[in-house]
Amino acid sequence: MNNKIKEFTRRHSLEIGLIVITILVWIVFIITSPRTFLSPKIYRTFMSTVPFVGLLALGLTFVLAIGEIDLSFPSTMAVGGMCFGLAFAATNSIVLGILAAMAGGFVVGLINGILVTKVGMPSIVATLGMMFFLRGFVTLSTDGSAISLRALGDHMLYPVFSGTFLTIPMQTVWFLFLSVFLGFILYRHQFGDNVLFVGDNSHTADLMGISVSKTKIAVFIIMGMLAALSGTMDVFRLRTWWPTQGQGYFMTAFATVFVGGTSMKGGQGTVFGTFVAAFLIGSLEAGIVAAGLAGFWTQLIYGLIIVVSVSIHTNLRRLGIT
């Protein structure tokens, strides 16, 4: 029994370490600002604001696990939000809006995947180009104007993405559901094995009969659809779509994935780590401000926590503990 516990601890030390860091950070926040952090309200707020970055980070977890990178996701988020906004404004149908957004995310992911696997562009270059292209595309398509969707709040299906379920904000319900589903895919499904295998050594994976191209394209499609879904859910929250949508999430999403424990080198990815890190990263700024650190301290502390967390992961890996 002891051996099983030891083995479990050894295998999951990265996730356990992350939970410990998160709890420690929150304890510090509770000590420094008890009025805010002993109230359930702040946690409910995090549950309604964190999932937007969380969904992007879930997609990035898969992309990094397969040994690639995607820089276009903030623009894809705007594509998803725009497709939803235009479709809803034209039809007043949430279902059609979501289908349009998912189609937009699918097409962007497919193009990214084709550019990387068929055209042979490095993913950092292909997705960098797509990031600019898509931002220009949404700005041109809407003549640079925002889309006001005030009527969305009165729609009967509005609570599906912006209401609550047993007092839990629906944003977190969706984030949790998709995390469990994608965790199952990554750890328990053949596709997940292929992703990790390709990420670890694509040449060997190819020799083993795994279709590297198809797997990579599928991962970029997952990323695209998750970004589009995040954009759609963000539109539900804001009841407005801006051409600048997603730009504030770029660095936060990357920080979430790296703090969660997913490596840039490929072949490794942790959906659980990403889920926990999303809430850790998402709560940092509010905690630092509530602690009363005035003025210009926020980014300094924010950066420090990220560097310390990732240093711990890196050393755990180097020592072969995870």
């Binding site: 600002s33 009025r35 805010t36 109230s39 309200k41 702040i42 409910r44 707020t45 995090f46 309604s48 604001t49 931002r135 700005t139 809407t142 640079g144 104007s145 925002a146 006001s148 969707l149 005030r150 709040g153 963000d234 929250r237 804001l238 009841r239 407005t240 801006w242 051409p243 600048t244 949508q245 997603g246 730009q247 504030g248 999430y249 700024e285 509010a286 401000v289 509530a290 009363g292 005035a294 003025g295 210009f296 926020t298 980014q299």
Partner: protein, 329 residues
């Protein structure tokens, strides 16, 4: 003149209340969440922050101000506003960039909790009307009017009319904030001038130096441009670099824009920038803190104060130079 007198009276009222405040002061300091708008250290946001800090210093231990830096991202502002509401402070001073629709449910929630909300820099007309009696004020420019004022004055001072060409580089895509760009564009077009409009991209919005190749390319293609208006503080402060890089001599193109900073002062002195609209961001930080303080303590309703009524040019810039260096103007 009337506007100046009323502004002085409001300021005198605020300061006298601050002085007499301790008599009625509450035991616990008022906790206020304040949104300077931009990134930490951003030129405009820092002046707003300086104003809020100055009010904080005057009020001493009667208030405790906490800052949320939003990088001018409307989404971040909404998220940070939600978090501020969850922290249940006594007051929140928000920038209105996300617009009424995006902020409405959260402002309603804040009011239900008894949090005083006020606004600065960009208006939230519906929210202000709904909660004005409960301390919801506004300290900032009237956006469209400010834009129109600058556009009209630029045309007049540059002596332009039909047959001339102008570039307006702004932020029409942002729902409320874009009104200032629209005002400037309308004023220039009303003078019969051909106007080319360019949207400020997010990269340029975040880092003005990223705009050098954009405007260089435009001016190379359109060497007959007579007037350039930049609707962005950081871009206005970089206008001299833009024009110099594009091979222009000082005064060859009439440069106009918004918001003062030490760099903008240099640009005016170097002759590349001829006209700047000053919305007095210091007051957009200073006044909301007092708004929340007097509403919490004396139940005053919201004050709508237009801070943007000044035009700065080579004839009056010397007067303001020391204050610009101090980060007050």
């Amino acid at each position: 003149m009337l506007r100046k007198i009323s502004f002085v009276m409001v300021l005198a009222l605020l300061l006298s209340l601050a002085v007499t405040g301790p008599i009625m002061a509450q035991d616990e300091p008022l906790e206020i969440y304040f949104f300077p708008g931009g990134p930490e250290g951003g030129p405009f946001a820092t002046i707003v922050y300086n104003g809020a800090e100055h009010a904080n210093e005057i009020l001493g231990d009667r208030v405790e101000v906490r800052y949320r830096w939003s990088d001018w991202s409307p989404e971040r502002m909404v998220t940070q506003f939600q978090e501020a509401v969850a922290a249940n402070p006594d007051g929140i001073a928000i920038m209105g960039h996300p617009g009424d629709d995006a902020l409405e449910p959260h402002i309603d929630e804040a009011r239900e909790q008894g949090i005083i909300v006020t606004s600065q820099n960009t208006t939230l007309p519906r929210m202000e009307e709904r909660y004005v009696a409960e301390g919801f004020g506004y300290a900032g420019q009237d956006l469209y009017d400010s834009g129109y004022m600058l556009g009209e004055a630029a045309v007049e001072r540059a002596g332009l009319g039909e047959g001339n060409r102008a570039l307006v580089w702004g932020l029409l895509s942002q729902p409320t904030r874009g009104q200032r760009t629209q005002g400037a564009k309308d004023a220039v077009e009303a003078a019969g001038i051909e106007v080319d409009y360019m949207e400020i991209s997010s990269e340029v919005d975040a880092d003005a130096s990223a705009g050098i190749p954009v405007i260089s390319g435009y001016l190379a293609e359109n060497p007959d441009t007579d007037l350039v208006i930049t609707d962005h503080g950081a871009l206005t402060s970089t206008l001299d670099v833009y024009l110099e890089t594009a091979g222009m001599e000082p005064g060859e193109v009439f440069g106009a824009g918004f918001d003062l900073s030490p760099a903008t002062l240099d640009a005016i002195e170097s002759g590349y920038v001829q006209l700047v609209h000053d919305q007095q961001p210091f007051l957009q930080g200073f006044l909301p803190i007092f708004q929340i303080y007097i509403s919490a303590n004396y139940q005053f309703s919201g004050l709508h104060i237009d801070t943007g009524s000044g035009l700065v040019h080579e004839d009056n810039v010397e007067l303001l130079a020391p204050l610009i260096d101090e980060g007050i103007r």
